[in-house]
Amino acid sequence: MTVETTVPEAPVLRGSRCADCGNVAFPEAAGCQRCGGTALSPLDLARRGTVWAHTVQRFAPKSPPYVPPAGGFAPFAVGYVELPDGVRVEAVLDAIDIDDPAELTGAVVTLVATEPVPRFATRQHQEAGR
């Protein structure tokens, strides 16, 4: 068994911003949906945002393509996180209690992983993990 000796770098989502109209896209885009511009520069998105809306996936999605976690499927929260950059990003949402609207609805959440999809966690979930 090896022991992690370095602090892992904080995950970050890479999007892009349109030089012509300022529109922010995720993932990094080749063309701007708003103005059709092609001068886009990469942009590291904010790591903290608020839950714009969410639902709970109650049944195991079809495999493949779904790859359940090692312990098997458990219902998970999924939704969109509104970032101050001006874009809402789809993400899996980690919470202590996914059935507690008070923990997730409009909650401030922090990016905890970028792969295979963005994953954000509530403050309660992060504190519990510490």
Partner: protein, 384 residues
């Protein structure tokens, strides 16, 4: 499109719902023969045809069963808007003078639990499939969850709307689901994606639908029970909408809706207002979609639905009966056929031939609306 220059002279359906041993193509042929018989025509009278399915084969191959008359027959593949797009093409053929009688057909036969989207087909990284995010129902749930909260609407409306669909389906001899279901049964069913339960969704289904359009002169000559097509408006999304399988919603503020744009265009072309409509078919992939589409298409203000539904406005006999045939929830969703099934129902209602589910008071103006991935909508206005 000026009023009155294209008439619907025939509309036909195959059976809807599971039909073991009957192919989607066979259902398409049944629908075409039903539409032709309705118009008092036979296949050799058709001068041009358009049609398609999402996964049940190519429409142009139907000529093998219909008769090799040599007419141009174009395949359409446009997701949930397949039927609507075929109708637009048929209407344009009449308007351009290329034909006097044109046919549109849509059909599908989806296996149980169909719709197996692959991330790469939607331009998404494969991770979205691995993580369990390639699930269409999640999109509908997130959208309605946000909508209910934003407009302070009770989630109980979702069961009320679904119960209406099953009630109307019970009155429709061609519907798949003909068992009425109470609001309690709908609300108490297994939760799929909060706040949507299993019985609030339509299921992938089977069926075919066909519509025959013609010039008013032909309609008159045939003495057909013609219904005027005042407008048909297909649109794709503009910037800032919220669609299925989106890694992000771009833009700020409340997402816009392609349904709003298509409906507005259809009303403008027809020269009528939403308040003038007597009966409507709105895409009800799940009951939240009907709720949102009521406002998105302009029939009521956002948030006003609670009052409308409490008053029974969308029931048969209400101010604006919606999805009188049970909609997608009671008929299932054969993707290619749904848009033309809607047109068939409005034609039936405007002719006063809807039997037990007939809207009272001789409805004169009808409206149809389809919506689907990846952000497409088609709306039509019909006049008796």
């Amino acid at each position: 499109m000026s009023g009155g220059d294209v008439s619907i002279i025939g509309a036909g359906l195959s059976r809807f719902g599971r039909q073991p041993g009957v192919s989607g193509r066979e259902m398409a042929v049944q629908a075409i023969h039903a539409a032709l018989a309705d118009a008092g025509l036979t296949w050799p009278d058709v001068q041009v045809a358009f049609g398609g399915s999402d996964g049940a084969g190519l429409a142009d191959t139907l000529v093998a069963e219909l008769g090799l008359t040599g007419i141009p027959f174009t395949n359409v593949k446009n997701g949930c808007a397949t039927g609507g797009s075929a109708l637009v093409a048929a209407v344009n053929a009449i308007r351009s003078g290329a034909a006097e009688i044109a046919l549109a057909v849509g059909f599908d036969k989806h296996p149980r639990g169909a719709f197996d989207p692959r991330p790469e087909d939607w331009g998404l990284p494969v991770g979205y499939g691995e993580a369990g995010l390639m699930v269409t129902t999640q999109f509908f749930a997130v959208k309605i969850a946000r909508y209910l909260r934003e407009h302070d609407l009770p989630a109980s409306l979702l069961a009320t709307i679904a119960a209406k669909a099953y009630r109307n389906g019970a009155l429709n001899p061609n519907a798949w689901r003909r068992e009425p279901m109470t609001e309690e049964q709908v609300a108490g069913a297994a939760m799929v994606n909060d706040p949507l339960t299993q019985y609030m969704f339509c299921s992938p289904g089977e069926g075919g639908a066909a519509v025959v359009v013609a010039t008013p002169a032909v309609a008159k000559r045939l003495g057909a029970r013609a219904v005027k097509l005042l407008a048909v408006a297909p649109r794709t999304r503009a910037f800032g909408t919220f669609e299925v399988f989106s890694p992000a919603i771009q833009g700020e503020g409340t997402p816009t809706s392609v349904s709003t744009v298509a409906a507005r265009a259809a009303f403008e072309m027809a020269g009528v207002a939403p308040a003038d409509i007597d009966v409507a078919q709105l895409q009800d992939t799940e009951s939240g979609a009907e709720l949102m589409h009521l406002a998105e298409t302009g029939f009521c203000a956002h948030g006003e639905q609670e009052k409308w539904i409490a008053e029974g406005a969308t029931e048969i006999g209400g101010r604006l009966p919606v999805n009188t045939d049970g909609g997608c929830i009671a008929n299932g969703e054969p993707i290619g056929a749904s848009g033309l099934r809607q047109v068939h129902e409005i034609v039936t209602q405007l002719r006063g031939e809807a039997g037990a589910r007939q809207v009272p008071g001789n409805p004169r103006l009808g409206f149809t609306h389809v919506y689907g991935a990846p952000g497409i909508s088609a709306c039509a206005v019909l006049e008796a």
